[in-house]
């Protein structure tokens, strides 16, 4: 009897689990989790998200622990705690929305209001989204890579360079890809200082990089209060499917700027945002389960994400150059175009840094913040289009997406 009980305990050790069929995959994913922790802690790559995602990945891949699943031997419930968090906030889409409130409460739209035409740079950089989308559909011609339109839309949104938007769209369109898409999105956001500069240098002349921009005019408190309201109004009229994201962002921003609910905007930025970040990171990481992560699709996603970032960067720079051709009175340093991909505030800092390589006295940071926050809006708009059109174009059959249907 004691032998039986010991055998039972032994049969549920992780050692047995890792050596069982498919167990090597879990072990490999745990190592991937460790790598994410290493990148976050030692290299400082987006630590708030990669520490939590990495840890979630590790916990979700421990055999027989069912932390992100349901314990089959349990008699009542038996849902692991990360599964509870996932169902509470990712399945429902609540967590990315709450993060967006906090982002709104931390964002200063002043530079954008002072120079509204930089909004167009934030629009241009979204080309990366749709290019990656088409790229995903083309990759699907390769055997072993299978993306339907839902998946392709989710992959494209990596090019939005905006974590909560990517998670929100993916949780709506292709939740099974959430792990790889979120990791790609946050990894590339962390890699922006490496990815962007060569592209920016290749597409600009030394002369262009030296362009000094006019100082930004001061923006009044009233303008900052009206701005979120006017953005929300335009969004409500044009694209309701983007209003959950844009509305949350503008709610946070209005709470910050209006000056009468500081205790709420403070909580959105701190306690609430931190709690949601912990829950969201663990939940997203838990989608890096071996079975769903270790396949050719993931490689495709990583490659396409990189392409999306690079293309968005390039388009942003090129449109800035075009703006200089069309309007010679208000010169724009094309280096700030790359900040239109979002990746706030990293991309704006990169613009500034590359600009100072050319002329250390040229301070582009504030100018780049305009396209940078415009990029967040642009991504949210692109997300709205995807959410409105993709389910209409490609209807689910029996509630299952084509790629999963045909291959099931």
């Amino acid at each position: 009897m004691i032998g039986e009980a010991f055998g039972q305990l032994w049969a549920t050790t992780g050692l047995v689990g890792f050596l069982a069929a498919g167990g090597w995959g879990n072990a490999l994913m745990i190592i991937v989790g460790f790598v994410l922790l290493y990148l976050a802690i030692a290299k400082g790559f987006e630590p708030l998200l990669l520490v939590t995602i990495g840890f979630g990945c590790i916990l979700a891949n421990i055999p027989f622990a069912y932390i992100a699943g349901i314990d089959p031997t349990s008699t009542h419930g038996g849902e692991g705690f990360i599964k509870l968090l996932y169902d509470m906030g990712i399945e429902t889409g609540l967590f990315p929305i709450l993060i967006f409130m906090g982002v709104g409460a931390m964002t200063d739209f002043g530079p954008l209001i002072a120079n509204p035409k930089t909004l167009l740079l934030g629009a241009a950089a979204q080309v990366g989204i749709f290019a990656a989308l088409i790229g995903a559909l083309l990759l699907s011609f390769i055997p072993g890579i299978n993306f339907d339109l839902h998946a392709a839309g989710s992959i494209g949104i990596i090019g939005g360079a905006d974590g909560p938007t990517a998670i929100y769209v993916t949780s709506r369109l292709a939740p099974d890809l959430l792990g790889s898409i979120a990791v790609a999105a946050y990894s590339y956001m962390a890699l922006v200082p490496i990815i962007q500069p060569p592209i920016m240098r290749a597409l600009t002349t030394k002369h262009e990089r030296l362009i000094k921009m006019e100082q930004l005019r001061p923006v009044s408190k009233l303008e900052k209060i009206i701005f979120p309201i006017s953005v929300l109004t335009v969004c409500a009229i044009l694209l309701p499917s983007a209003t959950p994201l844009v509305g949350a962002l503008m709610f946070g921003n209005l709470a910050k700027e209006c000056g009468v609910v500081n205790r709420l905007s403070d909580t959105m930025q701190n306690a609430l945002m931190n709690i949601v970040t912990i829950f969201l990171g663990l939940s997203v990481g838990s989608k890096m389960e071996a079975e769903k992560f270790l396949n050719l699709n993931t490689l495709g996603i990583l490659a396409l994400g990189l392409i999306a970032f690079a293309l968005g960067t390039a388009t942003g720079v090129l449109i800035a150059k075009l703006m200089n051709v069309l309007d010679k009175h208000h010169p724009v340093n094309p280096l700030i175009g790359s900040a239109g991909v979002s990746a706030v505030p990293m991309a704006a800092r990169v613009s500034s840094k590359v600009g100072q390589e050319a002329n250390p006295q040229n301070f582009l940071l504030m100018h780049a913040m305009g396209p940078n926050v415009a990029g967040v809006l642009g991504s949210a708009v692109a997300a709205g289009v995807l959410l409105a059109v993709v389910p209409y174009m490609e209807e689910l059959v029996n509630g299952v997406r084509p790629a999963l249907q045909f291959l099931g």
Binding site: I113, K117, V127, F130, V219, S220, F227, M366, M393, E394
Partner: protein, 88 residues
Amino acid sequence: MLNQLPRELLMEQVNNGLILLVIGMGTVFLFLTLLVFTTKFMSGIITRYFPEKISVAPARKAPAPSSGKAQGNEIAAAIAAAVARSRR
């Protein structure tokens, strides 16, 4: 071993993707262009008819999550100033 979606589906998907590119970028540009005009319009109205006490635009750059820290620093600065004054 490597599964594959049917070819017609793949072709139709690419076609849909191209449509999405056109519609998507169109909407993005339309939306943000409209926003350029509404923002300019709003700023125009406000600076003309409600010319409030103007604050310098890029005042609050990054959010200061550890406000306690920042506050501490301000106090430290205040101490330094006070002590400096008291020395004279």
